[in-house]
Symmetry: C2
Subunit: 245 residues, 2 copies
DNA sequence: CGGAATTTTGACGATGCTCAACAACGGTGG
DNA sequence: CCACCGTTGTTGAGCATCGTCAAAATTCCG
């Protein structure tokens, strides 16, 4: 044991106070730890706020940190040598950020909206993970969930047409958004541009736009004008478009 | 400790003997265990041989077992409600089979070739995993590798054309196959039908066939006639087709 | 209000899918 | 050993979907 300076103690106390009121205390990897275990982890974690559009990690960078998303949303993108881009994952509050067993990142991570995250130096995090089996188990669980999600998306990219992809995407956002409003509509906030939707769905901006107006013409959705958000009028109908029997 | 019957002891001895000469003793999850730790795992594992084409697990089944691939190859497929199919993963010797934190499987696993595997009852395997941190760490590593692989494939499905997908696939197989032969060609065995290649690449049988004959016409590959295998003549050129600058 | 950025809409064309015929292969049985 | 037949793979013609290019419309933001 090394001696702990007053500054260290103060830092730890402050950090664990931050953790205690953290928005993702019960959903991130941290939820696998008891309050008293959290002290060590919080001592190595540092809160960061990143503005929309900013890159967190570039493909090709040496992996030096991992993180948990606290609020906001990130995109994970892969690209071809000649610059075509595909979004291969979205990260929301509670999700883990980083390629753990890779020295050089193969993916780029970018903030879609302003995002708060809790980031950890690589070596220190790996040490903590090694000494908290429940946390490691939870990371395994989350990684397998990401894998299932990636596979579901591979099915869409390989076998669904533009209409099904767009309808399915809006439908997923609607599920995440929760319960219907008074008038039966579900208000869905779309945390990305048309270009990013296109990169996610493996389409072009124009095709996404056309499909959205198609869904609107079919009476399944509308747009709160002047905003990026949309209102799902008929979520059952939307699901039928996304998943034809 | 419960008393161990003679039969139990005999089984364990036999099983660990099987493990000792196992083809994937040094590449599967088992490689994280010392010989003496392997006894408990081998006691719950059972060798199975599955003929080509046979389904291991159906989507919708309750998950009751996991497994390691010992030899052969498996495909993992997802499908739409109306029956379109996409291969979302391939499993080779040493790979782990199963959706660990899911009660009901969302994916179907099928043998591409005759396949030997070592399968474990769910509960028993989870118990063993929990008591061997190195094995759990290794499973995490493999799962993250699968995730990276899935993401690479999402890039192809979303953003690469038919020619690039087929050339890339043959190129990958060639890498896996190893070093060039005397005449400079690399003999590549393709462990699947055209239909399965199509399901993997998100194309149709006809498009795959056309692209292959295109690569042959370009002098990049040839076919040992009467066989499914192919000979890569110009792996550099193949890579150039798959990854245009 | 004005200019840049984003989104929508339109016209056109290319890529890859559908449908169909044909060829090659493999196993079976005479 | 070869004829037969089912399966798998190849090739061709036509077409639908989605991408490309271009312009108009809308939104954003100073």
């Amino acid at each position: 044991m090394t001696t702990q300076t007053l500054a260290d103690r103060a830092h730890a106390a402050q950090a664990s106070a931050v953790c205690h009121e953290c928005l993702v205390r019960d959903t991130s990897l941290c939820s696998s730890l008891h309050d008293h275990e959290l002290v060590a982890l919080s001592a190595i974690g540092r809160r960061r706020t990143v503005p929309a559009g900013q890159v967190i990690t570039w493909a090709g960078d040496v992996v030096t940190t991992f993180a948990n998303v606290v609020s906001g949303a990130l995109k994970v993108t892969a690209s071809t040598p000649d610059g075509r881009e595909q979004i291969v994952g979205l990260l929301f509050p509670g999700d883990f950020v980083g390629q753990m067993f890779t020295d050089e990142a193969s993916l780029t991570v970018t903030a879609l909206t302003e995002t708060k995250m809790c980031s950890f130096p690589r070596a220190a995090f790996e040490r903590e993970l090694g000494s908290h089996a429940r946390m490691e188990r939870m990371l395994l669980e989350r990684t397998m969930a990401s894998l299932d999600e990636a596979r579901e998306r591979m099915l869409s990219l390989g076998r669904r047409n533009a209409q099904e992809r767009v309808a399915g995407f809006i439908g997923q956002l609607a599920e995440r958004a929760g319960l219907p409003r008074d008038d039966g509509g579900i208000h869905v906030s779309i945390p990305m541009s048309r270009g990013e939707m296109a990169d996610l769905l493996g389409l072009t901006i124009e095709t996404v736009s056309r499909q959205l107006t198609g869904l609107k013409a079919a009476g399944l959705i509308t747009f709160a004008k002047g905003e990026r958000d949309c209102l799902v009028l008929d979520s059952r109908g939307l699901d039928l478009v996304a998943n034809p029997a």
